[in-house]
């Protein structure tokens, strides 16, 4: 700095920082901060329809394909890593066994519920609803330091995906769609602290609510509170969604997780349980969005074997 002042060159005097330049710098800082606050205030009242929404659509239109491309570019890296890890033969065998295992586990997880439900449905309409599922790939993820448990998927309104649709994968419930654009959709994961899902205990059919705790990693858990204060969940009980009216945002019968610990609420009736979700949020890749209604409305008396 001292050396700068000693030399009479015009440029150097400017770089030393005239008040005018400092003023300009501060003006820009103030302008930028004001712009940020304006955005926050404009976007904060979501109910009235945020004016930032078109901006989000534009951003998704530009960055959706970019994210999709970047995810594809990741594939060769993954493949190379796999090659180091295991021989192709082992991989194929492993895939087959994993698929078998997944099927068996999902059978096991839903068997109690399916039996209970099947008995009910048998009386009502003699058929279990089947949904149309649109497959999609995860192309973007929120990071833990932003406290957002959201992902982007590469299916949007063009594929029939709309807000408030259930997202699941082979293991169980992933979350629900909160926002869509032409080619992408944002999914709120069940681990987010903003997320609450109605959950039914498989064994007793008792109703409750599963809410996210904002935890990350494969050891993340969810909270489970029962509606019926006298009902007690047991460790090892499995929880499935009980479904919302009109199947939005959650369709019934999707496995959520397994009860790991039960704690009595101090000074009140009832108990809360911790639930380990079947879906590891950090490892989701291919997911399905429930886009279609059941093959037939669940409460009409149609004979089985027809439709779709």
């Amino acid at each position: 700095m001292l050396k700068d002042l000693g030399t009479p060159a015009k440029g150097l005097v400017r770089s030393a920082g005239l008040p005018r330049e400092i003023r300009r710098r501060r003006t820009i800082l103030v302008l930028v901060i004001l712009a940020s606050f304006t955005l926050i205030v404009l976007d904060a009242r979501r109910s009235a329809g945020s004016p930032v929404e078109p901006l989000r659509h534009a951003a998704a239109a530009v960055f959706g394909p970019l994210e999709s491309g970047a995810s594809s570019a990741r594939q060769p890296v993954d493949n190379l890593r796999d090659r180091f890890a295991e021989v192709d033969r082992l991989k194929a065998e492993n895939e087959k066994l994993t698929a078998d295992n997944e099927k068996l586990i999902s059978d096991l997880r839903t068997t109690d519920y399916a039996r209970n439900r099947a008995a009910e449905l048998d009386r009502l309409l003699k058929v279990a609803p089947k949904y149309t599922v649109t497959p999609a790939r995860v192309i973007g993820m929120g990071s833990a330091q932003s406290f957002n448990h959201t992902v982007t998927i590469d299916a949007g309104t063009a594929d029939g995906v709309r807000a408030d649709m259930t997202v699941l994968n082979g293991d169980g419930l992933v979350g629900r769609v909160v926002r869509t654009t032409e080619a992408t959709a944002t999914v709120l994961l069940i681990g987010d602290r903003n997320s609450t899902v109605g959950g039914r205990l498989n064994s007793t059919m008792a109703l409750g609510f599963v809410s996210g705790r904002g935890e990350v990693g494969s050891s993340a858990t969810l909270d489970y509170k029962l509606v019926d204060l006298k009902a007690r969940p047991k460790v090892g009980d499995r929880i499935v969604t009980w479904g919302s009216s009109g199947n939005a945002p959650y369709v019934p019968g999707v496995p959520i997780g397994e009860v790991t610990t039960v704690t009595a609420v101090q000074g009140a009736l009832g108990s809360t349980a911790q639930v380990k979700p079947f879906v590891d949020p950090s490892r989701i890749d291919l997911v399905g969005v429930v886009t279609g209604p059941p093959a037939r409305a669940p409460r009409t008396t149609v004979p089985p074997g027809t439709g779709r």
């Binding site: 930028v32 998704a60 982007t152 950090s282």
Partner: protein, 177 residues
């Protein structure tokens, strides 16, 4: 010349946003990813000064706010990164025309990470966003800052080198006597 610099800076920011949202989550440590956009903003601020830092931070943060899977109130990252960029630009002024040393760069990145995450979380708290969890904040900030420094070793020299290449001759004489 300024036009080329602006285009380059915009390209860097867009690339950073794309990579941060789609590729980096797969390399996350305990769920915490690398704040690549913040690092690029710091690099731009270190090579061009506080005005550039503030504007680049605002635009980069704005992209993070609206590019999916963002689901928070827009403007939070914009504010956080604008402040980080401005402060990083001030660091460059303090060290005058001399090239910024690696230790100062690392400290600037840690400062930027701390400032941006604090501002982001604080605005979330003010808006009653239930997702913000202060009990987890310290751990995540620590991991993020460490990760950012590691990534900055590669990213910041690259960005500063590219931005340095397009400095006009008049200005190059001034910075490098």
């Amino acid at each position: 010349m300024p036009a080329i610099r602006i285009v380059l800076a915009a390209l860097f920011l867009m690339l950073a946003v794309t990579v941060q949202t789609s590729v980096l989550p797969h390399f996350a440590v305990a769920g915490v990813g690398c704040d690549l956009v913040m690092i690029v903003v710091v690099a731009l601020a270190l090579s061009r000064g506080a005005e550039w830092g503030a504007i680049a931070g605002f635009l980069g943060g704005l992209m993070l706010d609206v590019v999916p899977p963002a689901d928070h109130t827009a403007g939070r990252w914009a504010l956080a990164l604008a402040l980080s960029g401005y402060v990083a630009g001030l660091v460059r002024r303090e060290t005058s025309a001399a090239p910024v040393g690696p230790l100062v760069v690392a400290l600037t990145v840690v400062l930027g990470a701390a400032l941006s995450l604090t501002v982001y979380s604080a605005t979330g708290s003010l808006l009653h966003d239930p997702a913000v969890d202060w009990s987890e904040f310290g751990v995540r900030l620590g991991i993020a800052a460490g990760y950012d420094v590691v990534a900055a070793i590669v990213v910041i020299p690259l960005v500063m080198w590219v931005m340095g290449r397009v400095v006009p001759a008049r200005e190059r004489r001034r910075v490098l006597p």
